[in-house]
Amino acid sequence: MDSDDRIPLSERPEWSDVTPLPQDDGPNPIVAIAYKEDFAEVMNYFRAVYRADERSPRSLDLTAEAIAINPGNYTVWHFRRLILEALNVNLHDELNFLDDIAESNTKNYQIWHHRRWVAQKLGTDASRKEIEFTKNILSLDSKNYHAWSHRQWVLQALGGWEDELDYCHELLEEDVFNNSAWNQRYFVITRSPLLGGLKARRESEVSYTVEAILAHPENESSWRYLRGLYSGDTHSWITAPQVSSVCLKVLSGKRNFVFALSTLMNLLCHGFQPSQELRDAVDALRTPDDSPTDPDLANTVCLILERVDPIRVNYWLWKKSKLPQ
């Protein structure tokens, strides 16, 4: 808002009957609040209509002004909802109002909460618009936590699952390190009513993930996703040929192999029987400084991890201490 063009409320005829109500901070505020003039005036009038519980069109406009100055004030939002209900306002207009302020306030809890309140009232009609809206916000910041929460809520409450897996793919094509997109993918695979659940999708998801891992073996998110695909099914995890083979491929490449080693470590802890090829691949990662070959592969894996991931050396030492001797 350009403050030069703004007419103070005290000079507007429609507000002449209202006496502004200043903030009472108590005698000697501990975290004293400084007010800019415009903001102070708007809030003084706001407090007056709020105190009088005046649910009128001009109060609605005033809440918009107050929100423009400080969208974090939850009392203003709260009153706005009361007015919207009382005046029976067209809620599609309210969504448009929110569109305008959303882009510059994408991490504001109140706006998202208000948006959900409106969408919930509109029901399944709002689904498509909300899916599009969150897509716009995520195009500005693909990890925006609020946008993802809202989108998950929309899918579950209002529907719109049809293109969601494609959307996840699109985002991962853009940035395969986007943990939010991997999380959403897991959300879709495990919860979409259209896909048949995790077990039905596991094979194709494993192939998808293995490809992503091979392209960027240093990606924490894709490795965790792979593990998640076998959540609660340790037997399949340690016997799946695709899992041990992706470890082998990355280890043989000798670059960015920390997560491959930690995955191998996890497999070994669960009773996985390593092939000679895997043993050789691990052995090839040893440096002359490492202690002599240990017959126990897990020990060697830990040794290498201690060296290549020194910031977490205590974690790897602990892992080693937990190995059956």
């Binding site: 004293a32 999380n183 998110s221 998640g228 977490r312 205590n314």
Partner: protein
């Protein structure tokens, strides 16, 4: 490595009160109760709570209480569970919990529990696992935990657990260090830590440490001083804090200080604020930095304050 500019931070926190023309304080109006909690707890950890007039603070806190029993972020605002906890914590710091009508505050918090065990933040119903922690902590401080359905509350928190061992804001939500702190805290306070795969979560949390020594909130995100609190306290609650490099983290926090005017920022060379000043100091306290009071990772209050409250309960029983 530099040292903690403790005196400067005390001055900075006290000076926030005197600033009249800074926009930051304008937009903070509605969450002043949080600001009071951050600033005052930081002062207490630094051993300087006595520089503040307790009666003044207590009377302001009480003037923010709504007839529903909940507290607002400031006088004339609406109550929210966020500010209700901050109000109770501030009163606890000053050993003034006895000014509260405990039943009234309890009724407010109890009234926010939903059928599925989750908690809403206020009457408008936003649900978030943060609010579960806040409700549970608030009632723990008042010795009223038995007034809610703890089993259902725990079940909801557990339903926010992800395959990576972390927790999100609602079931299916991405794991995030801040949410993890809330969920681990809620489980710790209810004696339910057995629901956590500590090794899996501990590994996820220690992977949050980046080369600079700082901690981030999610994979591939930038480090931020506030995660020194969220991640560290979680690691302590699940007994895995030795998995990170403490020296490097101490250095990262100290590098975020404004050594001239006091205060701590999110990352080195950024602008300071009360929020990051508190989380930096609280983080250093968890790291056992010299001359700081110890802070309790679940209660987010100095250990002596928590002990005082626990002792009261024992005496009452």
């Amino acid at each position: 490595m530099g040292e903690l500019a403790a005196e400067k931070h005390v001055k900075y926190i006290l000076s926030v009160e005197k600033r009249k023309d800074d926009f930051q304080s304008v937009v903070m109006e509605h969450l002043r109760m949080n600001g009071a909690y951050w600033g005052l707890t930081a002062l207490d950890i630094l051993g300087k709570l006595n520089t503040v007039d307790a009666d003044e603070v207590v009377s302001w806190v009480m003037s923010c209480q709504h007839q529903s029993g909940g507290f607002a972020g400031n006088v004339g605002h609406d109550p929210h569970i966020l500010y209700t906890l901050s109000a109770v914590q501030v009163l606890a710091l000053f050993d003034k919990l006895d000014v509260l009508d405990v039943d009234k505050v309890t009724d407010y918090v109890v009234g926010l529990q939903n059928e599925d065990g989750s908690f809403s933040g206020d009457i408008w119903g936003e649900v978030d696992s943060r609010f579960s922690y806040i409700a549970i902590l608030c009632l723990s401080l008042l010795h009223q935990l038995d007034k809610i359905n703890v089993e259902k509350a725990v079940n909801f928190v557990v339903s926010c657990k992800n395959m990576d061992g972390g927790f999100g804001c609602i079931p299916g939500g991405e794991s995030h260090s801040g949410q993890i702190f809330c969920c681990v805290g809620a489980l710790a306070l209810t004696g339910s830590l057995h629901h956590i795969d500590k090794d899996l979560l501990g590994w996820w949390l220690c992977e949050r440490q980046v080369k600079s020594g700082g901690l981030n909130g999610r994979p591939e995100k930038l480090p931020d001083v506030c995660y020194s609190w969220w991640v560290l306290s979680s690691l302590i609650m699940i007994d895995r804090v030795h998995w990170i490099n403490k020296e490097k983290l101490v250095k990262f926090i100290l590098d975020c200080q404004d050594t001239e005017n006091g205060g701590i920022s999110d990352r080195p060379d950024d602008a300071v604020d009360v929020y990051h000043t508190y989380f930096g100091i609280a983080g250093l306290s968890l790291l056992e930095y010299p001359a700081l009071k110890a802070i309790d990772p679940a209660y987010a209050l100095p250990v002596d304050v928590v002990n005082r409250i626990r002792l009261r309960k024992k005496l009452a029983v």
